[in-house]
C-alpha cells in the first residue's frame, strides 16, 4: 500500500496557509484570459468558485443539472454557518474552531486543512455580508450568533432557518453577475457523464443535455468537481431527489481515489418515516436542539401506550420522562455532536422506548422553552421550522412535542484531495461535500456551509493557480477535432445505449429502493462484520439484476427522467459496495462509523493504533476489488484524546 502525499506546507500550523500563499505560483492577468476552467455543480462550493475564478479573469464554464444554479441543494441547509469571529466574547478563536472540528470529527481529519478552514471562516462572513446576505442581527445592529452541537461557544451565524438559502443566493448572485459579464458560460439542465483525459491530465468533460439528450464535450485547462455528497445511496435521505454521486464515481473510474466512503452522517433530528411510498426525509435543523429537550418515557408501558395512540406526550409527567442526552452527557446535554445524538436515539428505540406507531421516534420537546422564553420568542427563532413540521405531520409542535428520528444527511467521505484540493488525477479538483477533506468521521453542525464557501471563495482561487501557472501556453483544444474527446463521447454514448438496451421490466426507483434497504439495514447506524459482508454480496447481486432487468421507457435522445435516474442508480450500485467495503475494513468505531464490535458501553471506541489514517480507494476495473491506499494522520499540534462530552474538560 502506497502512502499518499497530502502536500502539507512546512512550518507551524498557524503559518502554513500564509506561507503557501506567499510562495505559490501565480498566473498573470493577461494569461488568465487564455485559460478555461470547468466547474461542475453550482451549489455553495461550485458557485462561489466559479464566480471567484471569473472575477480573477479566468474563463469559466459551469454546469448544473437543475434548471438554475439557485436550486442546488446547499439551499436546504437551515441552521447556520460557523466562524471564529468571537463577536459574543465567549472565548472563541481560530484555534478553538479548529480544535472543535478535529475533535468533532473524531480525529480522522487532516490538521492543516482544518486549521485553514477555521482561519478563512471569518472572511466568509465578511464576504457574505458585503453581498447583501441578510444575517440575523441584534437590536444594536450587529450580527447575532447561536450555538450548535459539539461546541461550547456561540459561533453560528444564521438567517432565520434559511441560512443555506441565503448563502447560496449570495453566491448565485455573484455568479449571475459574472454570467451577465460573459465571463462564465452557464450550462443548466446538463449532467456531466465523464471526464476527458489527455496525456495524464484532466482536460474536460462530456455532458448530456437533460432536455434534448444531446451529448457534448467541453474543454478546460482544469476541472473542478463541486457535485455534492452521495447520501442518496440510501434512497431515503435528506438530500434532494437529484443529488447524486455520479460525477465522483466517473472521476473514481478515471483514477481519482475515493476517501473514507463509509463516513456517512446520520442526522439525529429528522421527521420520522411514515410509509413505503416515501420519497425523501425532511431534516429539522440542529438549531432546534438549542431550546428543545430530547426525551423518551422512562417506563416501557408508557411508550407502548404512545405507540398505540392511547396517551399523548403531555399525559406523561416530568418525573416519568428520560432526558437521556442531558443525563448521559451533562456537559453538552442536548447539544452533543450528531453521531452521538443519533446513536442514543437508536439505542432508546431499539430498547423499546420509541414513541410513534413504528417505534422509531423520540420526542424533541419545546414545552420547557415556551415556559422559559414565551411562545413569541420560540416562534421568532424557529417559526418557519415549526410551520414546516406542522405542514408535513399535521401536528402542532407548540402544543405537542416534535417526533424525530435519525436519517442519512451528509457524507464526510468523498474524493481524496491533497492540501490544494487536487484529486489524484492531475488537473481535477474537488470542493465542498464532494471531497473528503475537513470533517473527519463526523461533521459538526453549521460546518458544511463554512467548508463549501471556504473551498470556493478562499482556497481554490489560490491553489488552482498553482496548477495553472505553467498551463497558460497550452492552447485551447477544440473537442470536435480531438481524438480523446471523440473517444470519450463515443464511450458515453455506448454506455447510455447499454442502459437503454436492457429493456427489462423493473423500474429504476424499485432498484434504488432495494439498494436503500440493503444500505440502511446493513451499513447504517450500527455495522458489523456480518452485516457488511451481507451488504457486499447483496449489492453485487442487485447490480447484476439491474443490468438484466431495469426498465427505462422512452428514448436516449430526448428528455428522459428515467434515464437520468438510471445513470445515477447504476453509480450508486457501485458506490454502495465501496461504502460497505470501506466500513468492513475499518474495524473500529469513529464518528459516524459505528462498528458494534468496537465499543465501550455503547460509546464508539476508536482504534488509533491501527486506523489513524485516511482510507483512499483506487479503482481497479469493473467488478474488481479496489485497492486501499493510506494517508497517515500525524497530529503534531493537537493532543489526540478520547472524545468526551460528559464533563466538558
Amino acid at each position: 500500500m502506497a502512502q499518499l502525499d497530502s502536500k502539507i506546507p512546512e512550518g507551524d500550523l498557524k503559518d502554513k496557509w500564509k506561507n503557501y500563499k506567499e510562495h505559490q505560483h501565480l498566473v498573470n492577468p493577461a494569461n488568465k484570459r487564455k485559460i478555461d476552467i470547468i466547474v461542475v455543480g453550482t451549489g455553495l462550493a461550485g458557485a462561489s468558485a466559479a464566480a471567484s475564478f471569473a472575477e480573477m479573469g479566468f474563463k469559466v464554464k459551469a454546469f448544473c443539472y437543475q434548471d438554475s444554479p439557485r436550486r442546488a441543494h446547499s439551499i436546504a441547509a437551515q441552521g447556520g454557518i460557523n466562524a471564529a469571529k468571537n463577536y459574543p466574547n465567549d472565548g472563541d478563536s481560530v484555534y478553538r474552531l479548529f480544535y472543535d472540528t478535529i475533535k468533532g470529527g473524531d480525529y480522522r481529519a487532516r490538521e492543516a486543512n482544518v486549521y485553514r478552514l477555521a482561519e478563512v471562516s471569518n472572511s466568509i462572513i465578511d464576504q457574505c455580508v458585503a453581498q447583501g446576505v441578510p444575517f440575523a442581527r441584534e437590536y444594536g445592529g450587529l450580527l447575532a450568533n447561536r450555538s450548535f452541537g459539539g461546541a461550547l461557544v456561540s459561533r453560528t451565524f444564521y438567517a432565520r432557518g434559511q441560512t443555506g438559502q441565503q448563502l447560496l443566493l449570495g453566491a448565485y448572485s455573484a455568479l449571475s453577475r459574472q454570467i451577465g459579464l460573459k465571463n462564465v458560460e452557464m450550462h443548466t439542465r446538463c449532467e456531466m457523464m465523464d471526464l476527458v483525459m489527455i496525456d495524464g491530465r484532466c482536460r474536460g468533460i462530456v455532458a448530456r443535455d437533460l432536455l434534448t439528450g444531446e451529448i457534448s464535450s467541453h474543454f478546460g485547462h482544469c476541472v473542478v468537481l463541486a457535485t455534492g455528497g452521495y447520501g442518496n445511496v440510501y434512497f431515503l435521505s435528506t438530500n434532494a431527489m437529484g443529488s447524486n454521486g455520479s460525477a465522483a464515481m466517473k472521476a473514481y473510474r478515471k483514477g481519482a481515489y475515493f476517501a473514507n466512503p463509509c463516513m456517512v452522517q446520520i442526522h439525529p433530528t429528522c421527521i420520522p418515516q411514515h410509509g413505503d411510498f416515501q420519497s425523501k426525509l425532511t431534516l429539522m435543523s440542529e438549531s432546534l436542539r438549542n431550546d428543545g429537550r430530547i426525551w423518551v418515557p422512562k417506563k416501557k408501558e408508557d411508550a407502548e401506550k404512545l405507540r398505540k395512540g392511547q396517551i399523548k406526550a403531555s399525559d406523561i409527567k416530568d418525573e416519568d420522562r428520560y432526558f437521556y442526552l442531558e443525563e448521559r452527557y451533562p456537559a453538552f446535554g442536548n447539544l452533543v455532536p450528531r453521531d452521538v445524538a443519533s446513536r442514543n436515539a437508536k439505542e432508546r428505540c431499539d430498547a423499546g422506548f420509541g414513541v410513534n406507531s413504528t417505534g422509531n421516534a423520540v420526542f424533541l420537546d419545546f414545552k420547557y422553552a415556551i415556559e422559559r422564553l414565551g411562545k413569541d420568542v420560540v416562534e421568532q427563532r424557529y417559526g418557519n421550522l415549526f410551520q414546516m413540521y406542522q405542514k408535513i405531520t399535521d401536528t402542532d409542535p407548540y402544543k405537542e412535542p416534535m417526533m424525530i428520528y435519525p436519517a442519512i444527511h451528509y457524507t464526510m467521505g468523498g474524493l481524496w484531495v491533497d492540501y490544494e484540493l487536487s484529486t489524484t488525477v492531475p488537473g481535477l479538483f474537488a470542493a465542498g461535500e464532494a471531497n473528503f477533506s475537513d470533517h473527519g468521521a463526523n461533521r459538526l453542525g453549521a460546518s458544511a456551509l463554512m467548508q463549501g464557501l471556504a473551498d470556493g471563495y478562499f482556497v481554490l482561487p489560490y491553489t488552482v493557480q498553482e496548477y495553472l501557472a505553467d498551463q497558460f501556453n497550452v492552447p485551447r483544444i477544440n473537442p470536435k477535432e480531438n481524438d480523446a474527446f471523440k473517444k470519450a463521447e463515443d464511450d458515453v454514448k455506448a454506455y447510455i445505449k447499454k442502459l437503454m438496451d436492457v429493456k427489462g421490466d423493473e423500474s429504476v426507483d424499485s432498484f434504488h429502493k432495494r439498494l436503500g434497504h440493503i444500505m440502511w439495514n446493513n451499513v447504517g447506524m450500527a455495522r458489523t462484520k456480518e452485516s457488511l459482508e451481507t451488504a457486499i454480496k447483496q449489492i453485487q447481486e442487485l447490480r447484476a439484476e439491474f443490468w438484466k432487468k431495469v426498465h427505462i421507457p422512452g428514448k436516449a435522445d430526448e428528455l428522459n427522467n428515467e434515464l437520468e435516474k438510471a445513470n445515477r442508480v447504476a453509480d450508486f450500485l457501485e458506490l454502495g459496495e465501496l461504502i460497505a467495503r470501506d466500513a468492513l475494513h475499518r474495524n473500529e468505531s469513529c464518528g459516524g462509523h459505528f462498528r458494534e464490535e468496537s465499543q465501550d458501553n455503547g460509546e464508539a471506541k476508536r482504534d488509533d493504533a491501527n486506523f489513524m489514517y485516511v482510507g483512499a480507494w483506487e479503482y481497479k476495473g469493473e467488478n474488481q476489488e479496489p485497492e486501499l491506499h493510506k494517508e497517515d494522520l500525524n497530529y503534531q499540534f493537537i493532543k489526540v484524546q478520547t472524545r468526551n462530552y460528559k464533563t466538558g474538560k
Binding site: 465578511d126 444575517f135 455573484a174 414546516m388
Partner: protein
C-alpha cells in the same frame, strides 16, 4: 396527527410532448393513496403506474428537487391554484390529507408567457435567471471587503430584507398574475438589496436594469390585484413592489 386513509382519485393531467406540440388533458386513476403522502409522492405513484403499464405518453415530466419547500424547482397549478389548495407552501410540501376520497384533481403547468412549457408539467424559467444577471447582485468581488460588523444595520431593516430575500424564484407570482407580471420576483431582490447599506450604493442602477430586462423578456405590468402575494409560497409581500416602484421612479428622476 390525522388518520391514515387510502384515497381513490381521478387525475386530469396536462400532457404536452414538447415546446412546439399542442397539449391536452389526459385522465388517470390512482388508488389507495395515503393521506400521509405528499402530493409529489402521489405523482411518483402515478408515474410508477405509467412506467409499469408502458403508457404511450410515458411518465409525466415535472420539475422537483429538494422536496422540502426551498429550492423553488417544483411548480404546478393544482385545481386552478399555484402550488395547490394550501397556503404558504410549495407543491412538494402539500400533503394528500388536503384532498377527499373520490375527488378529481386537475394538474397543469405554470401558464405564463414568460415560462414556455418544455414538456408536460415542466416549464422554462430561465427568464428569472436572466433578470438576476441584469442586476440582481451587489457588485463586490471575492476578498477585500470590510469586517462584517463594520456597518451596523437596524434589526428591523435586516428583518424586512430577509422577508424579501425568502423568495425561492419558483415563478408562482408570474404564473398567477393575470398580466403575467414578474414584479413580485423582481421587487423581492430590489427591495432586499435597497434595504441594506451594502446594496444601496447601486440601488438605482439595479432597479432600472432589472425592470428593463423584465420588460424585454415579455413579462406584463403590475395592476395591484395582489394575486401574487396570495399565492407566494414564501408570503413575500406586495409592499416590496411599492418599494420597487419608488426605487425605479427615483432612479428615473435622477437621470
Amino acid at each position: 396527527m390525522s388518520e391514515n386513509k387510502g384515497l381513490n382519485l381521478t387525475l386530469k393531467v396536462w400532457r404536452q410532448k414538447d415546446r412546439h406540440s399542442k397539449g391536452q388533458f389526459k385522465e388517470y386513476k390512482v388508488e389507495n393513496i395515503s393521506t400521509e403522502a405528499s402530493f409529489l409522492e402521489m405523482v411518483d405513484i402515478l408515474n410508477e403506474q405509467l412506467i409499469n403499464t408502458n403508457d404511450p405518453d410515458g411518465p409525466v415530466a415535472f420539475d422537483h428537487d429538494c422536496r422540502e419547500g426551498i429550492c423553488g424547482m417544483c411548480s404546478l397549478f393544482i385545481n386552478g391554484r399555484a402550488h395547490g389548495p394550501d397556503d404558504a407552501i410549495t407543491t412538494c410540501q402539500l400533503h394528500m390529507r388536503k384532498f377527499k376520497d373520490g375527488e378529481t384533481i386537475t394538474i397543469e403547468p405554470w401558464r405564463s408567457g414568460g415560462f414556455p412549457v418544455i414538456k408536460d408539467l415542466m416549464v422554462d424559467r430561465s427568464a428569472y435567471d436572466k433578470i438576476m444577471q441584469a442586476g440582481g447582485f451587489v457588485s463586490v468581488s471575492t476578498g477585500g471587503v470590510p469586517d462584517a460588523n463594520a456597518i451596523p444595520i437596524p434589526k428591523a431593516d435586516a428583518d424586512e430584507a430577509m422577508d424579501a430575500a425568502a423568495c425561492i424564484g419558483c415563478g408562482a407570482c408570474a404564473a398567477t398574475c393575470k398580466n403575467g407580471s414578474a414584479m413580485l420576483f423582481v421587487s423581492a431582490k430590489v427591495s432586499q438589496l435597497a434595504l441594506l447599506p451594502q446594496g444601496k450604493v447601486e440601488a438605482a442602477k439595479r432597479a432600472k436594469a432589472m425592470v428593463a430586462k423584465m420588460d424585454e423578456l415579455g413579462f406584463g405590468n403590475c395592476t395591484n390585484t395582489g394575486a401574487c402575494e396570495l399565492e407566494c409560497p414564501k408570503q413575500v409581500s406586495i409592499s416590496h413592489i411599492a418599494r420597487l416602484n419608488r426605487e425605479f421612479l427615483k432612479a428615473n428622476i435622477k437621470d
